[in-house]
Amino acid sequence: MRPTPHASAEELLAWLRPAIARACQIDDPSSVTDEKSLLDLGADSLTLASVLSLIEAEHGIELEPSEMLALLGATDVRALADALAGMIRARRRADVDG
């Protein structure tokens, strides 16, 4: 686990695209465009659990059920990155607020 204190949506996108490609068995990561949905990428339950676990490991966080649902419900890869960025920001604020 390595913390990513400056994880912007763009940085997260750059990390998510190849991670999703690997989880969904897609040979060409460039085909995982921002507008692709996880449904169109052929994700099944195990694939999604694998992606969520990778997110937890990469960002050193433990996702709440509501956060997992928000990520699973993301309409496309960009929305997934945006939702994840929002979660990381919220956690950072909560840490600062103590």
Binding site: Q25, S37, S45, S53
Partner: protein, 394 residues
């Protein structure tokens, strides 16, 4: 259900698919007998026919229950007592419970095609020949998903009832429910298979009716899975068990993915079918916030890197009749070597390792059954691969 509830379900399905719809996708649910449907590319969702796929195993379970009741036989009677002949050599003390709960230990990973006789019944002798002498575990030792259990269970029902499975399914199980057996021509087969479904199809309403009619036998304990799974918890007499007292099954054949679930305590039932997408993923996106107990995955705890990981307990070859992987080590940790090359293993807790790149066969492995300093098997969420050269587990 009310018009407002139906509109809400339609709104949820639309949001879940978000422009990804090409073929038919349908959600059907009921509570206390009140039904609601939402669909894309289907004007009359209740009448749409889908291949049942692996959910056919639920029909086998229901027919077994009915037949055992009629013949006064228990789930724990060795199957060889019914099948007779030379079945004992292949089956040993395997019981119907073992067959339905995937704890029979038979190694059918070479995926034998269903063997039928001229009259349409299952050629159980040929089936047993294929698995004879190949075991991954002793009967009852642990769960490993396969088709062979449902096939032998269906053959046992045929033996007791002296009629082919298809006729029993059509006349004794579905007809009393007012459900018509349908046949879907597929590129592979026009036969009906008790394990993979084959050409067996049902309408969405027919599936819902069957699931609503199911009452699990609560006096039977659930057989837990041998390791981690994000959604499934175990199996009871053919029905997969999920959190929140849901039971059901999934099928993921190309072009026909299906999720059927029942929660008998409040007469809730759910059927999700899709030609494009994995039904469970559609359902999680559409209904996850309403039914989190069914759709929020349980994730393993993370483990920080693998410094100091002793590779020795993991290393070796794990194999069944149709699948084999090697576990190797390099300076950065463990590597899984299979037919399609080498993939790094990323450690989580409880001896779970995610594949850095998923394969068609698996997204993770978990090492299970540790004896004398090494693991004797590998679990991938579906099946168990025993360590090559080890005696059957259990």
């Amino acid at each position: 259900m009310s018009t407002a509830e139906r509109h809400e379900l339609e709104r949820r399905l639309e949001l879940a698919l978000h422009g990804s719809e090409r073929g038919r996708t349908i959600i059907a649910r009921s509570a206390d007998g009140r039904r609601a449907y939402a669909a894309v590319r289907a004007a009359h969702p209740e009448r749409e026919v889908f291949r049942v796929g692996c959910t056919a195993k639920l029909f086998v379970a229901a027919l077994v229950e009915r037949t055992l009741d009629a013949h006064g036989i228990g789930y724990d009677v060795p199957v060889r007592h019914v099948l007779g002949g030379s079945s004992g050599a292949a089956l040993g003390d395997t019981s119907l419970r073992h067959l339905l709960e995937h704890t029979h230990g038979l190694d059918d990973a070479a995926a034998p095609e269903t063997a039928f006789r001229g009259d349409g019944s299952i050629d159980v002798e040929r089936l047993l020949e294929r698995v004879s002498g190949r075991r991954i575990a002793a009967p009852g030792a642990l769960y490993s998903y396969s088709h062979v259990g449902a096939l032998i269970a269906a053959a046992l029902v045929e033996t007791l009832e002296q009629r082919p499975f298809e006729a029993l399914l059509r006349d004794e199980l579905l007809a009393p429910l007012g459900v018509e057996l349908r046949r879907c021509r597929t590129p592979e087969t026009f036969a009906i298979c008790p394990a993979s479904g084959g050409a067996l199809g049902l309408t969405i309403d027919g599936l819902l009716t069957f699931v609503e009619s199911h009452r699990p036998q609560v006096d039977h304990a659930m057989m837990p899975l041998p390791g981690w799974h994000p959604l499934e918890r175990g199996v009871r007499l053919g029905w997969k068990c999920y959190a929140g007292s849901w039971v059901g099954h999934q099928s993921a054949w190309p072009g026909a993915s299906l999720l059927v679930c029942s929660r008998p305590r409040d007469r809730a039932a759910l059927v999700v079918a899709s030609e494009d997408h994995h039904a469970a993923v559609v359902a999680a996106r559409a209904l996850g916030d309403e039914m989190p107990e069914l759709f929020v995955p349980r994730l393993p705890k993370q483990r920080a890197g693998a410094p100091g990981l002793d590779p020795a307990p993991y290393l070796g070859r794990y194999a069944s009749a149709g699948d084999a992987v090697g576990i190797e080590a390099d300076a950065d940790g463990l590597v899984l070597a299979g037919d399609r090359g080498r993939v790094r293993l990323l450690p989580a807790a409880d001896e779970i390792f995610f594949l850095e790149r998923s394969t068609r066969a698996r997204a993770f492995v978990q090492f299970i059954v540790r004896r004398r300093g090494r693991f004797l098997a590998l679990w991938d969420g579906q099946r168990v691969l025993p360590r090559a050269g080890s005696p059957p587990l259990g």
